[in-house]
């Protein structure tokens, strides 16, 4: 068990049955009362942020979570197959766990996989990826009303809105958090 003196950024603890990571903390001591640690933490499963005032001496249950560096290999019918880049072990992660992130998860990309109680619960992509455009309509006039963009496809099948000058073979930088085009970085 931890207690409040162990609190630091990144500490992983259990709150109400869910794993949380400490994002921010501050010493407070109201009136003539006990010391507390005002703590902001993030739910590792949902991303929800929770604020708790933990009284000095309160016990905190460590969360059994671990982040592993893994490489995405390929997909089968209902899961994605990843390889631990240290041990070369392979794991299947259900497609539902990865969710929409798969749009920006081309084969061979390195990701962080979060394990909770030895089960993969979340896959974090790098914030940016660089991918060649595999499909674009050369005759597309673009939607000039919204700043002249057109949809193109990358290898994952995801559709990205890009400026009109982008064509097949261009390598573009994409923000995986928003799916937005950032810039053209070269040619394949």
């Amino acid at each position: 068990m931890y207690d409040t003196s162990d609190i630091r950024k990144g500490l992983k603890i259990m709150i109400d049955g869910s794993p949380y990571t400490i994002v921010e903390f501050q010493f407070v001591k109201p009136g003539k009362g006990a010391a507390f640690t005002r703590t902001k933490m993030k739910n590792l499963l949902t991303g929800a942020v929770l604020e708790r005032n933990l009284r000095s001496g309160d016990k905190l249950e460590p969360a059994d979570v671990e982040t592993k560096k893994m490489q995405y290999l390929y997909a089968d019918a209902d899961s994605y197959i990843f390889m631990d880049t240290t041990t070369y072990d392979q794991v299947n992660i259900p497609k539902a766990t990865v969710g929409d992130s798969a749009d920006y998860m081309p084969e061979n990309i390195n990701v962080d996989v979060l394990f909770f109680n030895a089960r993969a619960v979340d896959v974090s992509l790098p914030n940016f990826i660089e991918q060649p455009v595999v499909e674009a309509d050369p005759g597309h006039r673009g939607d000039t009303a919204t700043g002249a963009t057109k949809p193109v496809k990358i290898s994952t099948g995801a559709s990205i809105n890009v400026p009109l000058f982008i064509s097949v073979g261009d390598i573009i930088k994409i923000d995986t958090r928003s799916g937005q085009y950032i810039e053209r970085v070269g040619r394949a």
Binding site: K29, P30, G31, K32, G33, A34, A35, N53, L54, R55
Partner: protein
């Protein structure tokens, strides 16, 4: 890194203004020992050792009360206090306290003092008191009123710890393992009340529940609360005032209770201050208050961290 020159200049002007204000009010400035055998007894305060069975004061209150008992009706002290294991944006192990006593005056007189002092401090630092929300009379409320308004809890002050815990839980507060009355109280306070106080203007909170009496006397019209106020301003807990307890028998009982609790929790137990208990029977009805000077400077200058308003903040860690 030392604080900015402008900050230290403003701090010096505020200090001068505070001293000057007390002088115009007829206060005698005193200096009492910083190294003592009996530092504060409070359950949640730890003193720093000062060698040969001595400790650095956590507050100058015991010696100052002895001066009041000896016949000095209006005294003020501006000096350092030390508290172990306190370090955060509003806490430093070493800090400066302004402590003053008014014999024969009601607690409200100290609230009036605070309003005048805060305005004087703002003016001294070249700030507009109105822009800091200090120009209008400060709000005055009670602990019970705050609990009813912000937590929906009817707080008696005479309920036992189990009953208070049940009320807190019903209000949706995660009280964790807290079983002591004050621990449950402060969990609710921090979760539901303090954020609302921080968002409002300067506020005096009067009538604290009897279990949080410390050195305050019971309120004659309602003994479930004591004559105590705290001043909150700009998200800072700025001052704590008591209608001072002068009943030596009751004071000894509280000291002994606190010693027992400290021992049970494995904290250092300090000798009871017999000189103070011996002087209490000679003490007239008195109101006394401690105001955190560093926090006053923070308030006036809009600083977020106490380390930003002292010369070597990072070296003051507790």
């Amino acid at each position: 890194m030392p604080a900015a020159r402008e900050t230290l200049e403003a701090r010096a002007r505020i200090l001068r203004a505070v001293r000057g204000w007390f002088e115009t009010q007829g206060f005698l400035e005193v200096e009492t020992p910083a190294r003592v055998r009996s530092p504060g007894q409070e359950v949640h305060l730890d003193a720093m050792p000062a060698g040969d069975g001595h400790w650095l004061i956590t507050s100058p209150e015991y010696h100052m009360k002895r001066l009041v008992a000896a016949g000095l009706p209006r005294i003020v002290q501006i000096g350092k206090c030390w508290r172990a294991n306190e370090s955060g944006p509003h806490h430093r192990g070493e800090f400066t306290m302004v402590e003053w006593y008014r014999a024969g005056a009601p607690l409200t007189a100290l609230a009036d003092d605070c309003e005048a002092l805060l305005r004087a401090a703002a003016v001294a630092a070249g700030r507009d008191p109105a822009a800091l929300g200090l120009a209008a009379p400060f709000a005055r409320t009670t602990v019970r009123e705050l609990w009813a308004r912000h937590a929906g809890i009817e707080l008696g002050g005479d309920e036992d710890a189990g009953a208070l815990r049940a009320k807190a839980t019903a209000a949706g507060v995660a009280v964790g393992t807290a079983t002591a009355w004050d621990d449950v109280f402060y969990q609710v306070f921090l979760d539901l009340i303090e954020p609302r106080l921080a968002a409002g203007g300067p506020t005096f909170v009067f009538d604290w529940p009897a279990p949080l009496a410390a050195l305050a006397r019971p309120k004659p019209s309602d003994p479930r609360v004591v004559e105590r106020f705290e001043l909150y301003a700009g998200g800072l807990e700025l001052a704590n005032a008591f209608g001072e307890l002068t009943d030596a028998v009751e004071q000894r009982r509280r000291f002994e209770d606190e010693s027992r609790i400290r021992a049970a929790r494995g904290r250092q137990v300090y000798p009871i201050d017999e000189a103070l208990l011996g002087a209490l029977p000679d003490m007239p009805p008195t109101s006394g208050i401690a105001l955190g000077f560093d926090r006053l400077v923070m308030l006036v200058l809009g600083a977020r961290d106490i380390a930003d308003v002292v010369a070597f903040g990072e070296e003051h860690d507790g």
